[in-house]
């Protein structure tokens, strides 16, 4: 029995005159992930799109493939907290794509505790399990492959929320700070092996997740704008970007607010 059929015959063969850049986007069914899938496929990538929601995923792949008139996106239903699935699924995807140039981890959830006086360990745990451990479950084998191949590009999604621990959502802050640190460590490991690691820290982006945010959401951008910024940063091989870029300066200030003041702020 062959559970996997490698190199899906629907993908056009890669040749020197028609090269194929292969990417995986984990967390592709909506938000920035979906916008990035549309953008990268338009820019010539062939993509494996991974997400929990099978129907949304299939619809997105269909949309991309019919708009480009060839198979450029393949759907893979997977819940990132099923860590044990990752090695087999990764191997299958890489075989289906016939290689791997870029790995993008965009999966993330935001379950706020519901107020500055509320605590919810179950929510915190889910965010860590998906945003951080889910990320590590994918990034770890991908990093090992790229290190051995001496090539590749990793893009991971942090958040401006990971730059300081704040009163509103400690669990989310922690998950994003953890992932950003993990990405930084990978960058320091992998740059010397020719692998590029990009950390993306979005501010407010008009997605489903934004509905979870409490209070004002200044400078909110569309997922398409975020995807454009990420693609440009991938192309220029930047290490870290904020999107919108204005957040770099805002966060520079926020990071330097002394704790004595920061812990008294309602922010």
């Amino acid at each position: 029995m062959r559970s996997f059929v490698s190199n899906s015959p629907t993908i056009a063969p890669a040749t020197p005159l028609n090269p194929r850049y292969c990417g995986i986007i984990v967390g592709a069914s909506e938000g920035i992930g979906a916008a990035l899938a549309r953008k990268l496929s338009k820019e010539g990538f062939t993509l494996a799109l991974v997400a929990r929601q099978k129907d949304k995923l299939n619809a997105l792949c269909e949309e991309i493939n019919s708009s480009l008139n060839e198979t450029r996106a393949l759907p893979y239903a997977h819940d990132v907290s099923n860590y044990n699935e990752v090695p087999d699924l990764l191997r299958k995807i890489v075989a289906d794509l016939g290689g791997l140039d870029t790995f993008i981890f965009m999966a993330g959830v935001n379950y706020p505790p519901g107020g500055v006086d509320k605590y919810n360990f179950e929510n915190d745990r889910k965010m860590i399990e998906i945003n951080l451990i889910g990320g590590m479950a994918w990034l770890s084998p991908v990093a090992e492959m790229f290190q051995n191949a001496g090539a590749g590009q990793i893009v991971g999604i942090g958040s401006v929320a990971g730059d300081r621990g704040r009163i509103g959502n400690p669990g989310y802050n922690t998950s994003k700070a953890g992932l950003a640190t993990y990405l930084e460590a990978l960058r320091n490991r992998l740059t010397r092996h020719g692998v590029h690691v990009l950390t993306v820290k979005p501010g407010f982006v008009k997605t489903e997740m934004l509905k979870a945010a409490q209070g004002a959401t200044p400078f909110a951008i569309t997922p398409e704008k975020a995807a454009d910024d990420i693609y440009a940063a991938m192309h220029k091989r930047k290490q870290l970007i904020y999107t919108a870029s204005l957040w770099r300066w805002i966060m520079l200030v926020i990071q330097h607010v002394p704790s004595a003041i920061f812990r008294r702020m309602s922010f």
């Binding site: 063969p13 005159l17 090269p19 191997r91 016939g98 290689g99 791997l100």
Partner: protein
């Protein structure tokens, strides 16, 4: 598993595909790799020296068997000239083993870095194809392990269907584990070479055809940039073995040291750096200058003697020359045409390349004869190999042009060779092989590899 993930390239550095690399040392270890592949749902392909210009030794995201560790000679009989060795033995190892005893491999490629397993899988030809055929015609016996785990022995009589299908079968039926070859007796370390110019394509082809019977080797250089009445001009190099007793300095000329290409030019400049200085000339203007100078120099008809290795292994003369093509690398387009239609087809193709301003920077012509192998590329005619530089700007246009070339070759009864061409589609392959041949090949494939474990990027491209 992830720690074996390795970025692999084609020879021209124009294509990359990462794969899990396994280096087997025995037939058992090859079979273990098949079992692992089946368990993991991956495909397997064997890779020798990775000297194919295309995707023959690539298997993106799958398992690649690096055969270079199976590089031992099993038996060498200097009385009969029969050699038995493992498939990872290179032509370089082979000629250095047999030459001091007065033998030479009957068929060699333009580089000596290739492995015998790879040579058999592609059924390579040399500059003596018109006389000695392909390397497969000198195979006495080979053994192979099939994906089913069966170990088979093939000779032209025993398991003949597999013998004629696995040689030239691009490693998609089984993996060679040993190869027995007949060497050719030589009476000198030198060849006598005649070099003379040809004014146009007609002259080029008639020189190959008329010259071939008088020589042991014949090859033409074609100036891909010359147009008008000089279209197809170039230079012929035709060589013959020395007869017994003709070489008065036999002991000296047979020494390996006198065959080996010098590592430095004029004894000082290291050739390993030469590619760097070739780079600025690899554009239309630079190559036009070089080719014109080369053609003018070739106008002097002359005869000289040259060691075998120096005559054959031109691709090794400048180490890493393929790097001089820059970031995009190069591809080679080789077409085989019957002698009746070659001139018409290539005239059209060369003109098309000039019209598109995508001339070939190196053209090589040879004389061929047909053979009995199932996936044969040979014809009673000629081949023209054209090297093209790949750049981001030229990709799409070059691709469109090569599709036009394919149409011209098919319309003229031509064939292709899959150690070279990288853009040929499954439709084109089916058209020149013929439905019957492909069906026969797939039937053998089903028998040898029922689970479809052996697949390369090439296989998926032309049989997918």
């Amino acid at each position: 598993m992830q720690n074996t993930f390795t970025q692999l390239e084609n020879f021209g550095h124009s294509l990359h595909a990462p794969a899990y690399l396994i280096q087997p040392k025995t037939a058992d270890e090859i079979y273990s790799a098949f079992k692992l592949a089946k368990k993991l749902g991956l495909n397997v392909t064997a890779r020798g020296a990775g000297r194919s210009y295309n995707d023959a030794a690539l298997n993106g995201g799958g398992i690649v068997l690096d055969m270079s560790a199976m590089d031992q000679f099993i038996k060498w009989d200097q009385a009969t000239g029969q050699v038995r060795c493992e498939p990872g033995v290179t032509l370089e190892q082979l000629w250095q083993k047999v030459e001091p005893h007065g033998w030479w491999p009957p068929v060699v490629s333009g580089t000596m870095k290739t492995t015998l397993g790879g040579c058999l899988a592609a059924n390579i030809h040399g500059k003596n194809n018109f006389k000695m055929g392909t390397i497969g015609e000198h195979v006495i016996e080979f053994t192979a392990v099939l994906p089913t785990g069966a170990e088979i022995i093939c000779t032209p009589k025993k398991n003949a269907d597999l013998f004629f299908a696995m040689i030239g079968g691009y490693g998609m039926l089984g993996i060679f584990t040993s190869i027995t070859l007949q060497m050719k007796r030589i009476h000198s370390g030198l060849l006598t070479v005649d070099a003379f110019p040809v004014q146009n394509l007609r002259g080029q082809l008639s020189s190959l055809q008329d010259g071939a019977p008088n020589y042991d080797y014949i090859v033409g250089w074609l100036d891909g940039l010359a147009g008008g009445s000089s279209l197809g001009r170039g230079q012929i190099h035709a060589a013959r073995y020395l007869h017994e007793g003709e070489d008065k300095n036999l002991r000296e000329t047979m020494k390996i040291a006198n065959q080996i290409l010098p590592a430095r030019i004029f004894g000082v400049f290291p050739k390993s750096l030469l590619y760097y200085f070739m780079s600025p000339f690899l554009n239309n203007f630079g190559t036009w200058g070089i080719n014109t100078a080369k053609y003018i120099a070739s106008l002097r008809k002359h005869t000289f003697q040259q060691p075998h290795a120096a005559f054959h292994f031109l691709l090794d003369y400048v180490p890493n020359w393929e790097l001089s093509y820059g970031r995009g690398g190069l591809i080679q387009y080789q077409s085989f045409l019957p002698k009746e239609t070659a001139e018409t087809a290539w005239t059209e193709m060369l003109k098309l390349s000039h019209k598109n301003r995508l001339p070939s920077y190196l053209g090589v012509t040879k004389r061929h004869r047909p053979d009995k192998f199932l996936l044969t590329h040979a014809v009673d005619g000629f081949s023209l190999a054209m090297d093209f530089k790949v750049t981001d700007a030229s990709r799409a246009k070059l691709r469109a042009m090569l599709y036009d070339f394919d149409k011209i070759v098919l319309a003229n009864g031509g064939r292709f060779y899959f150690a070279k061409n990288s853009e040929t589609t499954a439709e084109t392959a089916l058209a020149f092989y013929g439905k019957e041949t492909v069906a026969k090949y797939k039937k053998l494939k089903k028998r040898c590899d029922p689970n479809g474990l052996l697949e390369s990027d090439l296989y998926r491209r032309i049989f997918g």
